[in-house]
């Protein structure tokens, strides 16, 4: 299905969108590349929305590069860039004046600050911002138009992950392994689904980021964790598909670590057989047949002891990107006859 095309070493961060690969190569300094061409030297970090690359340098200044027009501009002098990109071209930026830290929630398309030194939003949902309190049990929603709080709710349980919006409800996953929905306009808790009721496979799973996937368009939550695949329909509260990869034969079982998905496939890192520890395999699971259609062992016998695949594979166009713990980016290309 895929064959290795090439690999790049010393990659610190990367993003791939719209068939464009943007990465930071770190040897002594961090240098920024687009499709293997050097764009800037000695940068801090970058974000890439598919059209623009925003990055900061050591001055620090924030710059923006327009990919289509190949145009570079100074965006904000004396600011550092945060790494989270919200929808609609928004991010955190910050600077320091006389040791005092100032943090700004900034819209880089409209080039204006939205909030200065407020608690920083953690999610943007339907044009409203959500804040998680430091205790991580409280969620607040603020209206971007008016700047006023819509609601604030203390859930009394830790918020493990804010998943997204489906059916006018905000879905979250809690530290106590519950799937919970809140009314978008009031924050009132509408549904609480204990993972035990969903399926034993997801209970007590200590879910990690990129092992639970939310598909707003289909109203589905998909878990791929340890030895189980499970797809849950939010509208009907029913399990649609599930499969255990615990075959009873410890040499053929799959153990999944983290993954990404599209409509047809899950792209995962994990392990097969006895090596249930640090992931060394990459694979593709067909979501219709629930079969692992392709897999490859990337670990090598003489590799350094603690090498592992720690990040979810990224699929973009006909390429699959896998970033390993030593900083090598493995780039696979789809085989044409597949």
């Amino acid at each position: 299905m895929f064959k290795i095309n090439f690999s790049l070493n010393n990659i610190y961060r990367f993003q791939a969108k719209n068939s464009c690969l943007v990465y930071v190569k770190k040897i002594d300094k961090r240098n920024l590349f687009i499709d293997n061409k050097l764009l800037a030297e000695d940068i801090g970090t970058f974000i890439f929305d598919g059209k623009n690359i925003v990055y900061d340098n050591q001055k620090p200044d924030i710059l923006i590069y327009d990919l289509l027009n190949k145009k570079m501009e100074l965006l904000l002098p004396e600011y550092r860039l945060g790494e989270i990109l919200f929808s609609n071209y928004r991010t955190h930026v910050g600077n320091r004046i006389n040791q005092i830290r100032e943090t700004v929630f900034y819209d880089y398309k409209e080039r204006k600050a939205i909030f200065i030194n407020s608690p920083l939003p953690t999610h943007e949902v339907n044009g409203n911002l959500l804040f998680e309190q430091p205790t991580n049990t409280t969620l607040k929603s603020i209206n971007l138009e008016t700047g006023t709080y819509n609601w604030e709710v203390d859930l009394s349980v830790y918020i493990s992950s804010v998943l997204g919006v489906f059916g006018n409800q905000l879905w979250i996953y809690t530290g106590t392994d519950e799937l919970m929905s809140l009314a978008l306009d009031t924050g009132q808790v509408l549904q609480r689904i204990r993972s035990n009721d969903l399926h034993p496979a997801v209970s007590n799973a200590n879910l990690v980021a990129n092992a639970v996937h939310f598909e707003a368009i289909h109203g589905r939550v998909t878990f791929l964790k340890d030895r189980d695949y499970l797809e849950f329909d939010l509208a009907t509260c029913q399990v649609i598909r599930q499969k255990s990869f615990d075959t009873g034969n410890p040499y053929t079982d799959w153990a999944f670590s983290v993954s990404s998905l599209d409509d047809d496939y899950c792209y995962f890192v994990g392990n097969q057989g006895r090596d249930a520890g640090f992931a060394q395999w990459v694979g593709v699971l067909n979501r219709k047949t629930l079969e692992v259609e392709w897999s490859e062992h990337l670990g090598k016998q003489n590799q350094r002891d603690f090498w592992a695949l720690t990040k979810a594979p990224i699929s973009d166009g006909n390429k699959l990107y896998i970033h390993d713990s030593e900083g090598t980016l493995h780039i696979f290309e789809k085989e044409e006859n597949a």
Binding site: R13, E83, N136, A209, R274, D275, G277, Q303
Partner: protein, 226 residues
């Protein structure tokens, strides 16, 4: 229903793995006798699993997974009601703690530490969302060294001058920078330690503040001595 941990079976398998491991990894050190140190480590891990963790078969995802491929990995990985955390057992005497950790000469075991921090399953270094489900613990042998001394050694690994109260300029050591970058690259761990901070330079300052006190469980709580 879960069966109680079949300690004899685990012991037998575990011991044969350990001995195989010892022959491959530690066999060269015959003068000092690998048997003793491996037996000591083996006893430390087994007694912790049996007495402190009170494990059943349902809680064990894996133990020393690596003999077949001859690369050492984790000691113990849990599943089920105790969470899916990693446990790493170290039977270090005070000399080893001083020489390896405090003097920053930890070799491949430092790489192992970084690998744990980069693993997506690791989402805390001592303050897990659910206190019953720590995702990473380094368990040292309490008979050989106290927790406080080990935390001070780790502080020395992470930081220049942190344990010298009269020195005001404290900076991350080269190892501390690698630890910070491993945390920063792991989304779950990053959010546990740095919350909503998304600017790397701010997080680095925060990390330096956090490691200044060895009583800070957010960054030192994963170190246990029992």
């Amino acid at each position: 229903m879960d069966k109680a941990l079949n300690i004899n079976k685990i012991n037998s398998n575990f011991y044969s793995w350990r001995v195989a491991d010892a022959r491959v990894v530690g066999g060269k050190n015959t003068n000092n006798g690998w048997n003793f140190s491996f037996q000591q480590g083996h006893h430390h891990q087994l007694s912790d699993m049996r007495i402190n963790l009170n494990l059943t078969n349902a809680n064990i995802l894996g133990i020393d997974k690596t003999i077949t491929s001859n690369t050492r990995q984790y000691d113990l990985k849990l599943k089920g009601s105790l969470g899916n955390g990693y446990k790493e057992y170290k039977s270090y005497g005070s000399d080893q703690i001083e020489d390896k950790i405090a003097k920053r000469n930890w070799g491949t075991e430092f790489d192992q530490f970084l690998a744990y921090l980069k693993a997506p399953e690791t989402t805390d270094m001592g303050s897990p969302i659910d206190p019953a489900k720590p995702t990473l613990e380094y368990i040292f042998n309490v008979r050989l060294q106290s927790e406080g001394n080990i935390k001070t050694a780790f502080q020395n690994l992470f930081c220049d001058k942190c344990n010298e109260p009269t020195v005001t300029t404290k900076t991350l050591s080269p190892q501390g920078v690698k630890v910070f970058e491993a945390i920063w690259g792991n989304a779950g761990l990053r959010s546990n330690i740095f919350g909503t901070i998304t600017i790397e330079a701010d997080a680095k300052d925060e990390f330096l503040d956090l490691i200044k006190s060895t009583s800070n469980n957010k960054v030192y709580g994963f170190i246990k001595s029992r």
